[in-house]
């Protein structure tokens, strides 16, 4: 493969939740690969900082405050990018709620705790896809990357809205593929495992010991996957889920990573 297939020069990307964590890392990664990047999120300050960093690499950038749980605001946000840049080539639906969750029994979980997660993680992604879909269909090309999670495939105790919304993202991805492939639009899903994206946490060594590779992921380790999936190198890839989790979901079968030795002679 020639490396220029990974080049994103001239492509225009929108990344929701682009001000921090994985969204920020993907914004910087895509811009390093040549893309112009519009970052969208709730808080303006981190968006401006990321936009500045993208511009410092010689790429165009937009910092757009928008609440993705509101369809009109999502439509306005996409319309702004279309007006400013004339098109959107890449949409990364990254915005999501992870931390606004406190473990508690199901019967104490409020409607709002459920809805806020479903609205942001699942409906928000749907609104963004819908907002760019007509434009991408008319141009006959486009690339959408949805962020799911390892917890979109497995359960986590008392984390209802997160696990359910992230599982929804996976099948939304497949359904979009069935619906939009005929228009030249590719849709894929990145499912990260545990990444060091929580501002309050400095030391991840405790969590790391439960992951086969022995550590949590660095946000920059997602950026490469996003660049690859957004690039022409991935032109035939659509409707798929890509896990990046340090081996976590290869296991989940035992409390230990390996079985105690059980030689053949002992079982025959």
């Amino acid at each position: 493969m020639s490396p220029d297939k990974l080049d994103l020069t001239g492509k225009r990307a929108v990344i929701t939740g682009g001000g921090s964590g994985l969204g920020r890392a993907m914004a910087l990664g895509l811009s390093a690969a040549g893309a112009d990047v519009a970052v969208c999120g709730r808080r303006p300050a981190p968006l401006k900082e990321v936009a500045q960093e993208v511009r410092s690499r010689g790429r165009r950038s937009l910092a757009l405050s928008a609440d993705i749980t509101s369809p009109p605001k999502v439509n306005d946000m996409i319309a702004t990018v279309l007006k400013e840049w004339g098109g959107v080539d890449i949409l990364i639906n990254n915005a999501g709620i992870v931390r606004e969750w406190t473990p508690k029994p199901l019967w104490e979980t409020t409607d709002d705790e459920w809805r806020v997660g479903i609205d942001t993680n699942l409906s928000g992604a749907f609104y963004c896809c819908r907002a760019v879909s007509k434009h991408m269909a008319e141009r006959g090309k486009g690339c959408i990357i949805n962020l799911s999670s390892g917890f979109g495939m497995r359960g986590q105790r008392e984390n209802y809205m997160y696990c359910a919304s992230k599982a929804g993202i996976i099948n939304l991805t497949r359904t979009l593929t069935m619906s939009l492939s005929g228009y030249g639009i590719r849709i894929n899903c990145i499912a990260p495992g545990f990444f060091s994206t929580i501002p309050e946490v400095q030391d991840y060594s405790y969590s790391g010991q439960f992951i086969p590779i022995g550590r949590v992921g660095d946000p920059n380790e997602i950026a490469g996957l996003a660049v690859y999936l957004a690039s022409d190198a991935a032109a035939y890839i659509t409707g798929e889920v890509f896990l990046a989790d340090g081996g976590a979901l290869a296991g989940g079968y035992a409390p230990t990573g390996s079985a105690p030795i059980l030689p053949l002679e002992s079982v025959i």
């Binding site: 986590q156 290869a250 296991g251 079968y253 230990t256 079985a259 053949l264 025959i268």
Partner: protein, 244 residues
């Protein structure tokens, strides 16, 4: 659902593989549901004892092509085979670098090859006689990975994939092919080798499975209640398969 739907009255079930741990509870559950059980399990002496207790027949069989053919011919001559349950399960845990090719071959041969042999031999008879049910014993490790278990995991993944493919091949021909995949069960070698309390804490159901629970699933999958199910692998995991 009417109870008769779960009844295996008048059915003849061939159970193959190891009597321990799975063959015996499977045979007991099928017999309890009304089936006549033909035990092609090993070892031979205990197979005879269990067959006697269940008013079944003992046909202890090594899974070689000739022995399998001979046993199936005898079972068919005695009144046919409606249900086949393959209970082959030989685990091994050894680091890959210490695993000789002979051990690899042994494990694949012990877990996967007999499934092929019995399905081919009994399936031909079922297809010619209007249908039947085949149930293969797989493992949660056919779906999940575990260090030191490369050979066993690969073999059991083979059973799951074989089941899916054969289920499709015979889907329109009234032969249903499914698998049941137990995870951590009492009195099985891999579970015995694990740190007990840690394992029980890890399993969402907070206990290991009981072998008779596998027998119950076999009886269900063999019954008319499961008439639309084919190509599937059903896990008995106490929630482990939901675990991250």
């Amino acid at each position: 659902m009417r109870e008769e739907v779960l009844s295996l009255d008048g059915k003849r079930a061939l159970v193959t593989g190891g009597l321990h741990p799975w063959g015996k509870p499977v045979a007991e559950a099928l017999a309890e549901a009304g089936a006549k059980v033909l035990l092609a399990t090993l070892p031979a002496p205990t197979t005879r004892k269990v067959a006697g207790k269940l008013s079944g027949a003992a046909l202890p069989t090594r899974p070689s092509p000739t022995q399998v053919r001979r046993t199936v011919t005898r079972a068919v001559a005695g009144g046919g085979i409606d249900i086949l349950v393959n209970c082959y399960d030989t685990p091994m845990a050894s680091p890959l670098l210490d695993t000789h090719q002979a051990a690899w071959r042994w494990i694949v041969n012990a877990n996967l090859d007999p499934v092929f042999l019995w399905c081919r031999e009994v399936g031909g008879h079922m297809l010619a006689n209007g249908g039947g049910r085949i149930i293969n014993l797989a493992s949660g490790l056919g779906e999940r990975g575990l260090g030191n278990c490369t050979a066993y995991c690969a073999a059991m993944a083979g059973v799951i994939s074989f089941t899916r493919s054969l289920g499709l091949e015979w889907a329109g021909k009234s032969v249903a092919v499914n698998a049941m995949a137990p995870c951590w069960f009492e009195d099985t070698p891999l579970a015995e080798a694990m740190p007990k309390e840690r394992l029980a804490r890890f399993i969402p159901a907070k206990r290991l499975g009981k072998i008779e629970e596998v027998g119950a699933m076999a009886a269900f999958l063999a019954s008319d209640a499961a008439s639309y199910i084919t190509g599937q692998t059903y896990f008995l995991s106490g929630g482990v398969m939901a675990h991250a």
